[in-house]
Amino acid sequence: MAKTIAFVLLRLIATLFAVTFLTFLMVAMLPGDPVDTILGTGPRAPGIEEQIRADLNLDDPFFVRYVAWLGDAVTGDLGTSYITDQPVSDTISQRLPITAQLAIMSIVISVLIAIPVGVLGAYKQGKWPDTVTSTGVQVALSIPNFIFGIFLIWLFAVQLQWLPASNWNRFSNGIVDNMKTAILPTVSLALAQMALFSRLVRSDMMATLRENYILSARAKGMSDRYILFRHALRPSSLSLMTIVGIAFGALLGGTVIIEQLFGLPGLGFSLIAAINSRDILVIQGITVFIAAMFVIINTIVDLLYAVLDPRIRRK
């Protein structure tokens, strides 16, 4: 067990190094003078060039700069935007709750729908409920989330006028108002996740239902529902957990488009705003943050998996 943890942590550190290094390298490789890139062609305040040079240690060699930047980044200092004059870490901490809420809600919704759908498919294997759900899952997997989002806007905001097409009400403004603005983006994100999860549950369950202990439970006269949800679902929950973890990490990045579509001021929204104003430090900061979160969440999933399933521990 200790060996597994050591291995996973070692890989985490290596990956984090790679992630930060590549992000830093990307910015460092920019053609031309970084000062020009950061300031653009607009009018400049006197002395700002020297300030940027000093802030970013531009006169030092590449590796010295990387180590200095990494040291700052580890303590939460990702620099200050030269365009909005706001520390990058402040931007992240203000925007993260919105993105996190979207990601968590869509994961919860998709798991809640995916489990019964997947179980039904495995239970009625080859019969019409399975055919219908499997086909639905295949189609759902193929609809890009932004297209589904636009369709939802058209249906619920334009045609039915039940929900707003954009804008965001903070959680502190009341839960009902918050949900009104959160539900459409959440559902658009959840569709593909749900399809992915239910396909996994179905194929896992199909394998489990062939096991001998299911046969013996059936022989003992237990009800089908009890067998399905108590006996058969439990071993499948492990792989479901893994994929949920990975999906959560991916969602942090995947919300970029949905936030843009619904005009939600989350992490992805600021990333696109920074891209449009060429705010290099913010792009760098948010990229490194999302990538690091992604890597850390995957590591946690790996560790949990090793804790729960003794078979995959390293010898």
């Binding site: 990956t15 910015v27 086909t135 334009v158 290099i280």
Partner: protein
């Protein structure tokens, strides 16, 4: 290859049947002396389920549209002023300086099968040009993935040893990146707007996944009888890799490539939608959807057609990819 297969079949056939097994062994055995027929493309098409057949047809249509969009100058060629009066802004004719009589946001008609967009451009030809963008991205990334990723994976899966450990550790690190965010950062920082450069970057980022798939298959094939037989008669490792491993890794890898191409098309669509892919006025499905977004109350069709084209292409690639995946898996188990 074929002779090795039948030999394996022969040994399997000599296993005594009867008491233990209820199913006839013949079911799992390739009949001796009968070469398995290689199916013609038409034969493969005929054994497809209906949905997969429709998917294949749709993919052929998309491919045709993509090629046609490049051949016919009347289809929007990506640069203003345009060669085709049908495609200019409201039919503006550069030679005479006159505007055409087309309205913006027209409903579908014979002249404009999918109507016109806000700038009175023909949506049908813009959708066709969108197919060209998606097909290019898909093909470039598949070529990158299959050639580089496939070769690397097949190689380390067969050779094993330290090379494998190091390479797979690197691949794991690369796979740990959230690809879309990395792509966004890359493209935005370097201000890449060229279709081929974008395709190439996307292709580069999809190599790790191909390597994984190729390695897993190469590992499985390396232990099969025909590889052992080739080793036993002293075939060179490089020859084994070329003649035994790669041809057997390829079918599964290509099936994976179709599914991966679907994902890549969505990624390009997302980038286009965010305005970070090919530059306007070049049309791609993603940027058409984004541009039509403002007219959602007036003419939903302008959003619907490129959306349908994108979704159907992704669905078709997934279906056809899954079909070939199942098919190659069946082949593997029947030997």
């Amino acid at each position: 290859m074929a002779t090795t297969e039948t030999n394996v079949g022969a040994t399997a056939a000599t296993i005594p049947t009867g008491q233990a097994t209820t199913r006839p062994v013949d079911e799992f055995v390739v009949p001796q002396g009968v070469k398995q027929k290689r199916k013609t493309p038409w034969g493969v098409f005929r054994e497809m389920p209906l949905l997969v057949k429709l998917g294949t047809l749709w993919l052929l249509i998309v491919l045709f549209a993509a090629i046609y969009a490049q051949l016919d100058a009347r289809v929007f060629n990506g640069s203003l002023p345009l060669a085709d009066p049908n495609l200019q802004l409201n039919g503006f004719n550069a030679a005479t300086g006159e505007f055409g009589d087309r309205e913006s946001l027209e409903q579908p008609s014979w002249a404009h099968p999918l109507g016109t967009d806000r700038l009175a451009r023909d949506t049908f030809s813009r959708t066709m040009h969108g197919a060209y963008v998606s097909v290019t991205v898909a093909i470039v990334s598949v070529v990158c993935g299959v050639v580089v990723g496939g070769l690397l994976g097949a190689l380390v899966g067969y050779v094993r040893g330290k090379t494998e450990t190091v390479l797979m550790a690197m691949i794991d690190v690369l796979l740990a990146f959230p690809a879309l965010v990395l792509l966004l950062a890359l493209i935005s920082i370097f201000e890449v707007r060229d279709l081929f450069v974008i395709s190439f970057v996307i292709g580069l980022l999809s190599i790790p996944a191909y390597t994984r798939v190729a390695r897993a298959n190469s590992l499985a094939i390396s232990n099969r009888e025909f590889v052992l037989a080739a080793q036993a008669i002293g075939t060179k490792r490089w020859t084994i890799l070329r003649r035994e491993i790669i041809p057997n890794v390829l079918p599964t890898l290509l099936a994976y490539a179709m599914v991966a191409a679907a994902a890549v098309i969505v990624v390009e669509g997302s980038l286009s939608f965010l305005g970070l892919s090919v530059q306007l006025p070049t049309s791609s499905w993603g940027n058409m959807i984004n541009q039509a977004r403002g007219d959602i109350k007036v003419n939903f069709g302008q959003i619907l057609y490129p959306s349908l084209a994108l979704t159907m292409t992704v669905l078709a690639l997934n279906q056809v990819g899954d079909f070939f995946q199942r098919r190659s898996a069946f082949r593997g188990s029947s030997l």
